[in-house]
Point group: C2
Chain length 213, copies 2
Amino acid sequence: MKLTKNIPARTIERMVLYKRLLSDLLSKGQKTLFSHQLAALAHNTPAQVRRDIMTIGHEGSPHKGYDIASLITRITAILDGSKDRSIALVGVGNLGRAILSYFTYRHPGLTIVAAFDTDDSKVDRVISGCRCYHIREFETKVRELDINVGIITVPATQAQNVTDMMVAAGIRGILNFAPVPLKVPDTVCADRIDIASSLEKLAYFADHLKQHE
Amino acid sequence: MKLTKNIPARTIERMVLYKRLLSDLLSKGQKTLFSHQLAALAHNTPAQVRRDIMTIGHEGSPHKGYDIASLITRITAILDGSKDRSIALVGVGNLGRAILSYFTYRHPGLTIVAAFDTDDSKVDRVISGCRCYHIREFETKVRELDINVGIITVPATQAQNVTDMMVAAGIRGILNFAPVPLKVPDTVCADRIDIASSLEKLAYFADHLKQHE
DNA sequence: TACTTACTGTGAAGCAACTCACAAAGACAT
DNA sequence: ATGTCTTTGTGAGTTGCTTCACAGTAAGTA
């Protein structure tokens, strides 16, 4: 695979979606599709789809469209989805446990292999198939299990501390559920999922979207 | 408050964050701040902060900066955060329950007032302070409790059905945890939170971000 | 009073993502 | 063959958010 330079984040997000949609179609026996069909499934435009596929260096043929199997292969290669990802979760509270149970065995290629907490009553328990360790073992386990993505589900006040610890341990991607922005060096990628913020934003648009045509 | 026309979604997201950061400062007794201080807390630039504040029609003074209390008031007015929001959740599975427990009593102004499921064993139970109803009562309860935001935590196969039901019941904002994009009329605002996708994206950037200065 | 300093408000420039619109090309019909 | 139809690939244009850079301004200083 040629080294495609700098694919924009938005495109990567859509690739993840395309991959899932295409895999569905493939498992139903469909072999090819056109840009407008994928666009309908992804709720965007044919032009967007074609541009995206062009961006990752793949091509289709004007009369058959895109070959689903080879497109999946290409996207997978881009996303590096071939190799299994080991993920660590820090903060075994309500949300942490929910993510563990929600996640386990459901997402091939993405596995939460270790959870961490400061609470001794949680240490060594196995929650939804995932063992809990004391947070002081974090760096050791990260190295041992070759983890490079971390999930943060600790209270806001501790999120930055945990982040710094993750960065020090060599984590390169952080998914943060705490409602604070994290400071990370630019060799590390951090994303925030904040349910309360999302709801507030939604509440705003629920009121301000046009009420009529 | 004057009708500010069309504040971009990105700005609204930052407003939600600013509001939280400013409230923290206010409760610590701070009265005013400068754009560069808020920028540091929000991890963006002073110019961005000033532009945002300008966009919502507020202003500061060159020597004292912005008045925190009045800025919060303004943001709250914009976000309509004064009135309490009633929220419905559909799909009382692992994730649904986690969100209920994670959310309850923690977010003033945002309350999940009713949960819905098809499973009779869940109906009438109270989970984390929130009562479950059978989904056939959805529209009735939505009207009764004046709900206009909904959370979807059902399996992907049912997400669109639930969405259509929500739209029919008059819901205007939908937060979707199922890994499929939803089709909604443009009078309704839908947002997707997909943990698996986020992790895949993160995994990609964990590998592709620059390794060194 | 005049000078310095530090900040805001904002027009204009810069960027990045999205869309348009059309040339090129294969399939099929006649 | 020749023409028609449909769809791809893509340069160019557009849109919308972000950043720059500087005039305007008020407080502090002497």
